[in-house]
């Protein structure tokens, strides 16, 4: 009997101990510093930190390798989280191209690839010969049409080669959205200003890769400095391989290159 009676007492004591432990560690977690400092985590683009940013001496390029893109949509998810992009709008998205045996092309992009591609497309009614994914983002043109049409100077190409939007100056006229040959711009539903992919300018300035490049599991997205002869981007661009830009005939001279791009992609 004695042992049975002592059991509950022991449990109660244990319970109080556990509660105390829990509260103390819980409150300590809120006080003790956790996490890393952004300046201390390893640099992803070498040679940016610890010196002044020279606007005129930057030459960045982005390469999308569609031969290894598996359409997981990590990039879209990361982008959505980095900028808190409202639902239904995409700064970057992944398109799926399907080719039937009679060379008909079908393109779809459910939710921009945010939820990934879980099921094959079934509404075609004919066998699919080939499927591939094409991630899309801002092409960072060297001669951007969006900048040409902006009436208030709210969008511009900075001297370091990034096409950016000044949301304080933008009046939301949406000329740039119509002018962009790649349809990467949208009007933010809350701020009513134009928005688009910036190749994560704020991250690059701190030596980090753009969010989408950072999360890509297969290395389909590459970003780097062309002035650095050891960078992966320089090596790919100076080497052999099918490397091309989208809508070359528009004359916008994009800095975004596609590796292994196919004729069907527009």
């Amino acid at each position: 009997m004695g042992s049975i009676q002592s059991e509950p007492n022991k449990d109660r004591r244990q319970f109080i101990k556990n509660v105390l432990k829990g509260t103390i560690t819980g409150s300590l977690l809120l006080v003790i510093p956790a996490g890393a400092d952004i300046e201390k985590i390893p640099e992803q683009i070498p040679g940016i930190r610890g010196k002044d940013w020279d606007m005129s001496k930057q030459n960045f390029a982005f390469i999308v390798d569609i031969t290894v893109c598996i359409g997981c949509g990590s990039c879209v998810v990361a982008d959505q989280r980095e900028y808190r992009v409202p639902d239904g709008y995409y700064r970057t998205w992944v398109e799926r191209y399907l080719k039937t045996f009679d060379d008909e092309i079908f393109v779809d992009s459910p939710d921009g690839g945010l939820e990934g591609y879980q099921t094959p497309r079934k509404d075609l009614g004919k066998p699919v010969r080939d499927t591939f994914f094409v991630p899309k983002l801002c092409n960072m043109c060297k001669d951007p049409s969006c900048v040409q049409v902006c009436p208030v100077g709210a969008t511009f190409r900075s001297p370091d080669g990034f096409v950016l939007v000044d949301s304080k100056r933008c009046i939301g006229c949406a000329y740039c959205i119509q002018a962009c040959p790649y349809s990467v711009r949208f009007l933010h539903p809350e701020t009513r200003t134009a928005e688009k992919c910036t190749w994560c300018y704020h991250r690059v300035r701190k030596g980090l890769l753009p969010a989408c490049v950072n999360v890509c599991p297969t290395g389909a997205r590459k970003f780097g400095d062309l002035n650095d002869k050891n960078s992966e981007v320089y090596k790919i661009l100076s080497g052999p391989g099918v490397l091309t830009v989208l809508k070359k005939d528009m004359g916008n001279y994009p800095s975004l290159y596609y590796k292994g791009l196919r004729r069907e992609v527009i």
Binding site: L29, G35, M55, T67, G71, Q118, T131, D166, P217
Partner: protein, 177 residues
């Protein structure tokens, strides 16, 4: 004969001067500071863009604290996957050096949805040399497990072949993947 009345000319000149002055002052007041430093835009907008908050960090930043997971993750085939892809953004977890919220961990059926996002062979365009793919439920049948099994019952989510390679080692099958 020359007219001696200049007041009308004076009025026009004065009007033009006032117009120019008002225009000049108006332009000065309405043009934002730093406009035109580099071109027809506000140069300060570049620095504003550069000072945006970084919400998605890197795997290295997660692994400064989570060393146990790092040891498993970095050895496995999933080492190129970002921690934040499955566990949500770093900025929601740590703020000003303090742990502010727990990160979500995917469970049960969510795991299968997550795995098949990449590993579903039914979606073509997933080259063999890039990723290993499976067909469900054939994969479960061929491995002789229950049809209700969830991927992480055999595969460690951080290092998918961890248990499988260990099991092979134990039973003495020498096969490296």
């Amino acid at each position: 004969m020359k007219s001696t009345y200049y007041s009308h000319v004076l009025r026009i000149v004065l009007g033009l001067v006032v117009f120019a002055a008002v225009g000049g002052i108006g332009k000065y007041l309405l043009t934002p500071k730093s406009f035109g430093t580099h071109g027809h835009y506000r140069a300060d907008a570049i620095e504003e863009e550069a000072s945006l908050e970084i919400r998605q960090w890197t795997n290295a930043s997660c692994m400064t604290c989570h060393q146990h997971e790092a040891l498993i993750h970095l050895k496995g085939l999933h080492r190129t996957i970002s921690c934040e892809f499955c566990h949500s953004a770093y900025a929601d977890h740590v703020k000003d050096g303090k742990n502010v919220a727990a990160m979500p961990v995917k469970k049960d059926q969510e795991i299968r949805v997550l795995c098949l996002r990449c590993h579903n062979r039914a979606i073509q365009a997933r080259p063999k040399q890039v990723i290993k793919t499976v067909v469900m439920p054939e994969h479960l049948e061929s491995q002789k497990v229950k049809i209700t099994h969830i991927c992480n019952q055999c595969h460690n989510v951080h290092a998918p072949l961890k248990y499988i390679n260990r099991a092979k080692e134990i039973v003495g099958i020498q096969e490296k993947t």
